[in-house]
Amino acid sequence: MRQGRQKRRLIVGAALLATATMSLTACASGSGSTGGGSTPAATEELSGRGPITYVSSPDASGAAQTSVDAWNAEHPDEQVTWVELPLDADQQRQQMVQNAQIKGDAYTVLNLDVVWTSEFAANRWIVPLPEDALPTDELIPATVDAATYADQLFAAPYYTDGALLYSRTDLLTAAGVTEAPETWADLQAACDKVLALPEAAGMSCYAGQFDKNEGLTVNFSEAVASAGGSLFTEDGQPDVDTPEALTALEFLVDGFDSGMIPQDAITFQEEQGRQAFQEGKLVFLRNWPYIFNALSKTDGSSAVAGKFGVSPIPGEDGPGVSTLGGRNIAISSFAENKATALEFIQFFTGQEQEESRLELSSRAPVYGSFFEDEAVVAKYPYLPTLLSSLENAAPRPKVVQYGETTAAIQDEVYSAISGDKSPEDALADLQASLEEIVG
């Protein structure tokens, strides 16, 4: 009896406590929920000097570390500490976003994927850089474009990436094809000739990245751009229910239907495609420059060493349009010592450091001049091709809600290439969901 009463009192107490906690949290989130804030910055003064942090994905090559060490040796009072984030890009983004949401000053200099730059800029999580901070004339224009939001430069291009078409030149020569394919029709014609060869038995024609992840968005937006279209209009409105996008999607869907693209390519991310090409199962492969080294290995791991070449990706009526990959370096809005940060960025992405990093890392620099330097090209023979690929590269959709946008693209394109939806329906549905996201 008595215990019962006690229990009841305890419950009432707990409930009261709970209500109190709830109202406490209410206050807390109430005050924190007014994001955004002041008027758009017309380049505020970047001030403050002292130690800063560089927040980045791990760099296995060690090249970035040598740059940081070089800075630290010269600036004893403005040391840079490397904060290493997980390898997974989604997790990197999430940690940086969380830091921005609590307005934490632990992160000073951020290493951002080019596709996050708009989101971070639009949310004012990063500060615009002064007009004259970077030698933008010497940088590849597409990389500057990818670091710009609302006509302001928000970040410094760090390294860049573009699509290459890897092809089996040995088989192409044997089949009498001398020119790398420039159009999708050329690609198909070259395949028809090569696959008729006895030594090409069991091979497939073409593959890219078609598994449901970022690679699919890349491949689809490249196909649309290569067919002369664009996923978004100039003023940022979705525009995918177009004849050009339909041509692009049909290229992929028909490719799977006709067997030009092997069925298992629907499970390919970058690595699976590389393996297939490396084992000699593909005539053509769309991939990034990083696989060049693995393919060229002469220790027996690659069946295609010395038997392949690279060219820009093909398109509908002529050379295709690559999407732009790579990374930008920006300054967090909530950090201290922004003046040091700016100087560090200028140092880190400067020509001298980009050059010294080429020794260790195959990541493509953002200065056009390197791509014509003979010593560099001897080491990385794909660079001239990459440059021409980058010269007419188009960025992936520059939208603030990039996460939702790429998810919607992957959903619809994947259902089209797996045969669940007709290309027309997929594009109509994609237009509707993109309008909902952007609008």
Binding site: R2, Q3, Q6, L17, A18, T21, M22, T25, A26, S29, S33, T34, G35, G36, P40, D90, Q94, V97, A122, N123, R124, Y149, A150, D211, K212, N213, Q263, D264, I266, T267, Q272, Q275, A276, E279, K281, V400, Q401, G403, E404, A407, Q410, D411, Y414, S418
Partner: protein
Amino acid sequence: MTAAPIVPTLKTPRGRSTTPNEGRTASLLLSPTFLVLALVILYPLLSAVYQSLFSAESGLDEQGFVVEGDVFVGLRNYLDIFAGSESGRFYNALWNTSFFTFVSVALETVIGVAFAVAMNRAFRGRGFLRAAVLVPWAIPTAVSGLLWRWVFQSNGIVNTLTGTQVLWTAEGFASQVAVITAEVWKTAPFIGLLVLAGMQIIPEEVYEAAKLDGANAWKQFWSITLPMVRPALLVAVLFRMLDSLRMFDLPFVLIGPRKESVETLSILAWESSNQLEYGTASAFSIILLLYVAAIAFVFIKLLGADVVGSGAERKQRKARPAAAKGVSR
């Protein structure tokens, strides 16, 4: 999770009435524990409930910069989940979660018990087998996801051995089979070891008596082993079910996010939070919590799983003479 209690042997002073004074001392002594529990369980829970009532509304101003604020929307997040335009995804994920849980836990139980029976025999290398069986359980789930992804990829070992061209990591039933295989591989040893521990406390005389009465191995298993490991088995199965309902990393790593046929409730919650929709993410988590709680409740009520061990003593005392006579309960 891994340090699951087998039948606890703690003796609770039942039947003896406690004086109010003693009760107060007990509450006082336990209060630090309650405080910590309130801090790490109650507070996050309430905060999640609270957050699920808000929605982040954001728009762009004319210069293209984000203006945002949290808006109180009441139960709209829940309403959208159950009846909104995306509700199909939720029901699909709910079905996947339940399907994975029931199929994989059923398989794990059968295989785990078989493991336990095998390991309970005295034979050379038994110690080695016991250790070997633990290896899958010791591997982090994300790593085993990668491992199985490699096994199941289109030119992987499964397709090579069977001579087929099934796209396990794409979509559809094949990918569900892949997830269940990996899940069973990883967690059957957990059930196996808990059941083995339960088996080892069965006194040898019981089996000797059964042999004298002429019971064959099969009869011994059904009438002695199974009833006597039941408490341990039920707890193991319950733990596995609760764990499996929260399944996230295996389908995520093995097949990938946003794949309709393997999308679970946890993946939906992750995705919402990844897109900074913390309100929806909290709502998903609360729904998952309620679902897990409901399943656990039904399981305990229906099968009488003895989680806290209150009745263990009594049941065992009852079970022993009954089993000794070779009669199943």
